[in-house]
Amino acid sequence: MKDVGKSMKKKNKIVTNNITVDYGDKRALHGIDLKIEEKEVTALIGPSGCGKSTFIRCLNRMNDLITGCKVEGSILIDGTDINLPDTDIVELRARIGMVFQKPNPFPKSIYDNVAYGPRIHGLADSKNELDNIVHKSLKRAGLWDEVHERLDASGLSLSGGQQQRLCIARAIAVNPDVLLMDEPCSALDPIATAVIEELINELKERYTIVIVTHSMQQAARLSEKTAYFHLGKMIEYDDTSNIFTNPKHEMTEAYISGRIG
């Protein structure tokens, strides 16, 4: 079980303060306060449309791409508010990587998929260094053994699970601190899902991971902390073992047990 002493020593990687998101007139998030600890997996659960994906996209300013979307409140990452207008978004998105629901590798070779990020951020001075980064990323994503003999093959020639691992490798190639995962396994079969879950277990030793998931069991298996969202509000946020054995709120209990209302 959780070592209480250990979690007290861990510091907060991300602290959000009163995050409000509006799409035009419609309010999608009502004042979310959340503290995410470093090098842990934090799961966000809740029914469709509850705002969990919207919230996660605030953390790397992906909501900026949506016209008419307004994000207010402060998002402190290692103490710096990234929701200020003078934030270097390109740099932010290198530090906070994202993996999407449907695997979306670039229509390039496997090597180029992973190398693209380091290239544009100038992380490698020589071809050798770049090769090293690609090798390391693919290895950490658990894909190296399967693809190292065909790095020139198109990223799209891989299976669904492999493509998602390629996307993970691509995200970690730019050396982020945080990995945001928006339902990363929902398009995959159970075996591929299990492989990725095992990978997440290994990755959390290096990266802070925030995962949005529709599967209660997945949140229960993977995360240290779970937050339950409902209609744009955060209803409960606690250690995962508490949420799933004895949640405090009726709404949480009803949702996780599959009850009406």
């Binding site: 740099e91 932010l92 994202m98 693209y116 995200a171």
Partner: protein, 419 residues
């Protein structure tokens, strides 16, 4: 339980399905047949353009001429050599008017063949040689029985005497028909047997070149800005509506614009591919913009999100990811636009490219004409012989368009990437 197998509804449905298939296949067949009919009729009618009738004359150069040739071949009076060689075949022809008639059997530029022959075979200068020279187009028409010889003489282009001369030469085996590529080697001429498309083809290519280098970069960049960068507000909506409207504007309006602004106000050279290219570029611009925007919009947002997610800037997302994937669509739209421009005549009319221009243009500021204009002018020519020339020119234009389309398909194949 309903019986699924023998109901009447099922039979009717199968019949309806079959009818539908038959209808759609018939439509396809009808379309193909119309196309084939059109193409075959043009092709058949164009065949004579690729043949040349020649008449063999016996040429004996005298010593003065030989001497002159060795000094300067251009100073030799080839015309008189041509005439005298012909007269020798018809010793009975004496009067001036008859000789004139006789001469008309040969093309006005027939002597060039004699000159070329001796330039190629200088060793044969002192010998008597049977040299085949270009015949006038009337000879061909007579031999093909296109000219109605039963008509009274004053209703034909060929006189009775000429008919006699022609049949004599024919019986003497002096009339030869060969495949010739003069259509591609000569520029326009009043004489059908000498008229060629070289000027028109080069003019078209030069104009297309100008059109391409102006409309492609401007069109693609404008489309990128409108689709990827500009905020979606009323102003961009208005711009989009107006671009769509511009694509439907009749092409002659662009010609008027070209006349007023480029020729009159800016004093650019008249009848030049430069101006023609600019006018056609303006016409092609909306087509390219619309096609490029559609290609860009068809790229799914997941590609962009993936690139942004890794920390790419907007420019990097567009250049590294969106445009390469949209390239097949962009290229297709561009080639379609250019091909359409290649077949335009109305706007070029206003800026003077519908003129009879004999010289082959060498740069974009030279006077030139384009293939469609040439086709139009030849079609308007009353001489019978220009009929097959017009058909041949149409075939050439179609060939150029097909080559451009093939190019488009090849480029598409090369750059096609699935996502």
């Amino acid at each position: 339980m309903t019986d699924f197998n023998t109901s009447k509804r099922l039979k009717n449905r199968y019949k309806a399905e079959k009818r539908f298939k038959v209808y759609s296949m018939s439509a396809l067949i009808i379309g193909i047949m119309i196309l084939l009919t059109l193409l075959s009729s043009i092709t058949i009618s164009a065949i004579p353009a690729f043949t040349q009738t020649s008449i063999g004359v016996d040429v004996q150069m005298d010593d003065d001429d030989i001497q002159q040739f060795q000094d300067d071949p251009n100073e030799v009076s080839w015309r008189s050599i041509q005439k005298s060689s012909l007269y020798e075949l018809f010793p009975d022809v004496e009067s001036r008017s008859q000789k004139k008639e006789l001469n008309k059997i040969l093309s006005t530029a027939a002597y060039i063949k004699i000159k070329d022959f001796y330039l190629k075979n200088p060793k044969l200068l002192d010998k008597k040689n049977t040299i085949y020279v270009t015949a006038s187009d009337d000879v061909d028409l007579v031999l093909k029985k296109i000219i109605d010889v039963t008509l009274p003489e004053n209703m034909r282009t060929v006189s009775d005497d000429q008919l006699k001369y022609i049949s004599f030469l024919s019986e003497d085996d002096r009339i030869k028909k060969q495949i010739s590529w003069k259509l591609f080697q000569n520029s326009d001429s009043r004489e059908p047997e000498l008229a060629g498309l070289k000027g028109g083809i080069i003019g078209t290519l030069l104009t297309m070149f100008v059109t391409l280098i102006i409309s492609f970069p401007i069109g693609v960049l404008a489309a990128i800005y409108l689709e990827e960068i500009a905020p979606k507000n009323r102003i961009t909506d208005i711009i989009e509506v107006n671009i769509n409207n511009l694509a439907a504007v009749p092409s002659i309006v662009y010609g008027l614009l070209g006349l007023a602004v480029f020729l009159n106000y800016l004093s650019m050279p008249r009848s030049a591919p430069l101006v023609g290219g600019i006018v056609l570029a303006l016409m092609t611009l909306p087509v390219i913009i619309i096609a490029t925007r559609a290609a860009l919009a068809s790229i799914p947002p997941s590609i962009r999100e993936a690139a942004y997610g890794v920390g790419a800037s907007q420019m990097q997302v567009i250049i590294h990811h969106v445009v390469p994937l949209a390239l097949p669509g962009i290229l297709t739209g561009t080639i379609i636009g250019i091909a359409r421009a290649a077949g335009e005549t109305a706007p070029l009319l206003m800026i003077g490219m519908m003129a009879f221009i004999v010289d082959v243009p060498s740069k974009i500021t030279d006077k030139a004409t384009v293939l469609p204009a040439q086709i139009y002018m030849w079609a308007n020519n009353p001489e019978r012989s220009f009929e097959y020339l017009t058909s041949a020119a149409i075939l050439i234009l179609l060939l150029i368009l097909i080559i451009m389309n093939l190019l488009a398909i090849l480029l598409r194949r090369k750059y096609e990437r699935r996502w």
